[in-house]
């Protein structure tokens, strides 16, 4: 049994394409062409070239000596924070903008929560000279002002989502409505490993460069191509999908997914979907999502805007249900401490999303000689205000 998507886009019980008929032609066009386009030598060449010269890949695999010493195990950090724009998100937007060009689209839409995916999308649209519209919840626009400014600087139009709770899920709804209203010329760049098939698989493939590089880098450093554990934070799950990708079907690698517990999984203010979610449909796929017993999607909470999503990608829902992945929920406080610890032990300020992944070392025991790779998905510049307020620095 494989933990990859099957040809209909199912990971076990999860995935598929639960979309209104209005979206069918767009999604079907993408589904029927994405693999073929991705396999074209000219596509691969352009994608690899941009990842190297524009994004700055390969990103280093860094042995964190002081952090390892403190936690008495061997910790490597995959430095996605060193990607252009400051996070792994750009791996996917580069791939999708090239895809959009080959599909003949001349208008790009995207959703964003914290603004990282919005910035990564606005960046590649500027690079290609394509019109870009980013939907962002009105509440998020207020609390993520620096990223809104970056998107505007890059020439994108930021449209506030005024419906529902005015956060990421509503921005996603608005982007989907835009796509319904503009079915011919527009490509929707989804930022996470969610959405109707083929999005979760396509996004995972574009992010799979992360684990591809880890394989060769670890071979060089450890004489084997796989760690004992691969660790990533999971909101929708794109950085995790990329970090796990080449290890999904390797039983020697333990997969650890770190979710945001917010103020605690029992507190009513949490985003730990694997603990609190039930099977359902969100944004076009069958997966685990947080909802009322009546099937209304609820609003999650996390100090990290990037993990503040009520669902989880179908790959991860399947890793959870099958037991292949170990899921750990980390609170705001635990994450913030881990972020400060990495800053002061290694001189790297991580994004708060990533700090959740780093917090497992205080909360789970590893053996001295375990080799652990943590995907350092993003840098913390965008979160400085939150850190400073929290620690009263």
């Amino acid at each position: 049994m494989s933990y990859q998507a099957d040809e209909k886009g199912y990971y076990g019980d999860f995935g598929g394409a639960y979309i209104p008929e209005m979206l069918y032609p767009n999604v079907e066009e993408l589904r029927s062409k994405y693999l073929k386009i991705m396999m074209e030598p000219s596509f691969k060449k352009e994608y690899d070239q941009l990842l190297k010269d524009y994004v700055g890949r390969p990103t280093p695999l860094y042995f964190a000596e002081r952090l390892s010493k403190k936690h008495k195990t061997k910790i490597y950090l995959k430095r996605e924070d060193l990607c252009h724009t400051g996070a792994h998100k750009v791996n996917n937007t580069i791939g999708q903008i090239l895809m959009a060009k080959r599909l003949g689209k001349n208008r790009i839409i995207a959703e964003t929560g914290a603004g990282q995916h919005g910035v990564a999308t606005a960046t590649v649209c500027a690079l290609m000279g394509i019109k870009c519209i980013v939907y962002m919840g009105a509440v998020d626009i207020k609390r993520q002002a620096p990223n809104v400014a970056r998107m505007k600087m890059l020439g994108a139009e930021v449209r506030p989502a005024m419906s529902g709770s005015r956060t990421l899920k509503d921005a996603t709804n608005e982007a989907i409505r835009d796509w319904i209203n503009n079915p011919v010329d527009t490509h929707y760049i989804i930022g996470s490993a969610i959405g109707p098939h083929p999005y979760p698989d396509m996004v995972a493939r574009f992010q799979s460069i992360i684990s591809e590089e880890i394989q060769s880098q670890l071979q060089e450093k450890e004489g084997r191509d796989h760690p004992d554990f691969i660790v990533a934070c999971v909101g929708g799950g794109s950085n995790a999908a990329g970090a796990y990708y080449h290890y999904l079907d390797n039983p020697d690698v333990g997969i650890i997914a770190v979710e945001a517990a917010g103020k605690g999984t029992e507190s009513g203010e949490s985003a730990a979907t694997s603990v609190l979610g039930q099977e359902g449909i969100i944004h076009g796929c069958k997966t685990l999502l947080m909802q009322t017993p009546d099937g209304q999607i609820t609003e999650p909470y996390s100090i990290s805007a990037g993990l503040d999503y009520p669902g989880v990608g179908p790959m991860h829902a399947n890793l959870h249900r099958s037991g292949r992945g170990e899921f750990i929920a980390i609170t705001d406080d635990q994450a913030m401490s881990a972020g400060l610890e990495l800053s002061q032990l290694e001189g790297i300020i991580p994004a708060i999303e990533t700090s959740h992944a780093l917090a497992i070392f205080e909360n789970r025991k590893f053996l001295d000689d375990d080799v652990i790779v943590v995907n350092l998905s993003g840098r913390g510049d965008k979160d400085l205000n939150t850190y400073i307020d929290y620690f009263k620095l």
Partner: protein, 253 residues
């Protein structure tokens, strides 16, 4: 015989009205249905409110949000409708997104619909192939007609497939848009209506999205069997309340 099929056999253009259950107030559902029937409406779509209605424009979104805020639930709707067939004879269709139906339990939901006397379902985010593979047997077991959508972008091949699995009517979305678009119909729609009319489909078509007054109703039903009004009716309820439903219906025909 299913009430939808009987209605489709009548020699007239059908007026169908959509409203969101629990809007403007939780307990308005039954009165709205009764008034629509007594004013000559042919068929009713009862909207099951959902937190994230991604095929709907602002008017229906807003009615859903308000209905949910006031405490509307699937169970409450079924409770309100339990005696509806003592007073109402026209076809009743529940229109809702798939997630609340999944949480209720697809089979339990269908059984309840049959018990109450619901004739059909429209579930915009349950695509025809998923329905065909996973749910068709259950729907049919409880005598429910499932209605599929087509749009101006739907390929001829797919329209033929949808026609082949449609037992009642085809819901013909008038334009590439979410519900409640107000631009009226132009040449593109006329060509699309004519193109579908010329396909000689087995299932009659009822047009929805963008029908808001007498003109758009007549344009839409020139080739199609009927038309559905949603957002314009919700706007009427918002502005005029639930006591003048007859006035609204009279502006259409």
């Amino acid at each position: 015989m299913n009430r939808i099929k009987q209605k489709l056999d009548e020699d007239k253009k059908l007026l169908s009205i959509y409203f969101t259950a629990g809007y403007p107030d939780t307990e308005d559902t039954v009165k709205i249905i009764q008034d629509l029937e007594s004013n000559g409406v042919d068929m009713i779509e009862i909207g099951l409110p959902f937190s994230d209605p991604l095929a709907d424009g602002p008017t229906i979104q807003d009615s859903s949000t308000k209905a949910l805020e006031k405490g509307m639930t699937t169970a409450k709707l079924f409770e309100q409708l339990k005696n509806i067939r003592e007073s109402v004879y026209i076809p009743l269709i529940i229109m809702g997104y798939f997630n609340p139906i999944m949480q209720y339990g697809v089979e339990a939901f269908c059984a309840k619909c049959q018990e109450i006397g619901i004739d059909g379902l429209i579930i915009p985010d349950l695509p025809v192939n998923e329905y065909h593979e996973r749910y068709q047997e259950t729907f049919e077991k409880y005598g429910l007609i499932n209605v599929f959508l087509i749009t101006p972008q739907t390929s001829e091949e797919r329209i033929r497939f949808i026609d082949s699995v449609s037992d009642g009517f085809i819901y013909m979305v008038s334009s590439a848009s979410v519900t409640g678009s107000t631009s009226g119909f132009g040449n593109i729609q006329k060509k699309y209506f004519d193109r579908i009319g010329a396909m000689q489909l087995k299932a009659p078509q009822i047009v929805g999205f963008g029908i808001k007054d007498k003109d758009t109703f007549h344009e839409a039903t020139n080739t199609a069997k009927g038309a559905i009004i949603g957002s314009a009716f919700i706007k009427h309820l918002t502005e005029k309340g639930i006591d003048t439903i007859g006035d609204f219906v009279k502006t259409i025909r």
